[in-house]
Amino acid sequence: MQRLTHLHESPSQTAGPYVHIGCVPNFAGITDVYEADLGAAMVTDNTKGERITVTGTVFDGTGTPLRDAMMELWQADAQGLYPGRDGADPTFTGWGRTAGDAETGQWSMETVRPGPVPFTDGRMMAPHISIWLVARGINIGLQTRMYFPGDPMLGDDPWLTRIEHQNRVPTLIAQETTPGTFKFDIHLQGPDETIFFDV
């Protein structure tokens, strides 16, 4: 029999407590190496779409905020186009990186409300922000999605409707705390454990 020649993905290791040194050094006080931390800004003054702030806190199984987590956000522009694609807003990076506050653990990011993007079969998915979360004690980055409350597309969303335990879907939906500010807390464990995806 012939052998398959595929390689194997390198195994993950935790980002550890010092991930900030490598990924957001200016935030960590190492200000002399890179001009700015990558992903600190997703928008410019010229970016099209509805300006929003996304914020949240990550909680461990004891209810304690993680103060050493790092999150990455990835989303389409206001038209539903991912950056780099034809026609996408060139002033929008689509990708943001933020660390939790060293005291409170709260993170936040300025962005625009994304447009809908297609599922594998061409049906449209409700607007969402993909989130990748790493921290000390997390052995492999956790993938989840943030959706918008009250979005009329939520009910038919081809991704959300695949979820067996529909009573967990609210863990993926942000709260609009003030107009234009969306709070998306993540619970690593417990009755409100956020849905994480193997995708």
Binding site: S10, P11, L188, F197
Partner: protein, 241 residues
């Protein structure tokens, strides 16, 4: 831009979320099963980084934090290799970010408590973008081993942290590189979160005497593999990979 489903992640070769010997994982590991989903454009697309973001010394940790004319203290090494996908193809324009302790095992970080001293000429971060073959290299000093609060006498083997972007957000990976021959590797609770010995060996960089620069720096070779992409013609989206 290339789309197409990513290979499903083989989680047998990755650490499980709950690994009680690495104590912090106990309250930070999801307890419910991950929900398996097909990759969509949200996972298959990814941020694009241009070579123009990289400064002249970003890939040289010996000088990128040092005062003018100074250099970091330690064993001088070059770390080089390729970023590949599971199909064996080089991944061009992949952003690699690294961070590490100094030669004494001390990080430049507010939460670091080890008594080993800081090196005033070492910051501990570097970055580079792969060339059109997926190749990369950077220069640094060999980090020291360090103790950490887990068991009463747990020491991390010398290691360099790597954060890697391919072309898809779903390929996002953070891992660590270890050094050939380090006796601390098999003792480390973080290494041991990976239960497959062959997978562990994929994180251990061999000494590469062919690329060692005489009288200057030894070389270690470290390839990184990211998730592959299905390449059969029978997808609903036919496009090059």
């Amino acid at each position: 831009m290339s789309d197409g489903p990513l290979f499903h992640r083989n989680r047998d070769r990755h650490p499980k979320a709950l690994t009680p010997d690495y104590k912090t994982s106990v309250v930070r590991s999801p307890q419910k099963a991950l929900l398996s989903m097909p990759t969509t454009l949200s996972e298959e697309a990814g941020p694009v980084f241009g070579h123009d973001i990289i400064g002249a010394h970003d890939n040289d940790l010996i000088v990128n934090y040092a005062a003018a004319g100074e250099m970091a203290i330690g064993q001088r090494i070059i770390v080089h290799g390729r970023v590949l996908d599971e199909n064996g193809r080089g991944v061009p324009n992949a952003l690699i970010e690294v961070w590490q302790a100094n030669a004494g095992g001390r990080y430049r970080h507010a939460k670091e408590g080890y008594i080993a001293p800081l090196d005033p000429n070492f910051g501990g971060c570097g970055r580079t973008i792969t060339d059109d073959q997926g190749g990369y290299s950077f220069r640094t000093i060999k980090p020291g081993a360090y103790p950490w609060p887990n068991g009463v006498n747990d020491w991390r083997p010398a290691h360099i942290h790597f954060s890697v972007f391919g072309h898809s957000f779903g390929q996002r990976l953070i891992t660590q590189m270890y050094f050939e021959g380090d006796p601390l590797i098999p003792l480390c609770p973080i290494v041991r979160t990976i239960t497959d010995a062959e997978a562990v060996s994929q994180l251990v960089a061999p000494l590469d005497m062919n690329n060692t620069v005489p009288m200057d720096a030894r070389a270690y070779h470290f390839d990184i593999v990211l998730r592959g992409r299905r390449s059969t013609m029978f997808e609903n989206r036919i496009e090059g990979n």
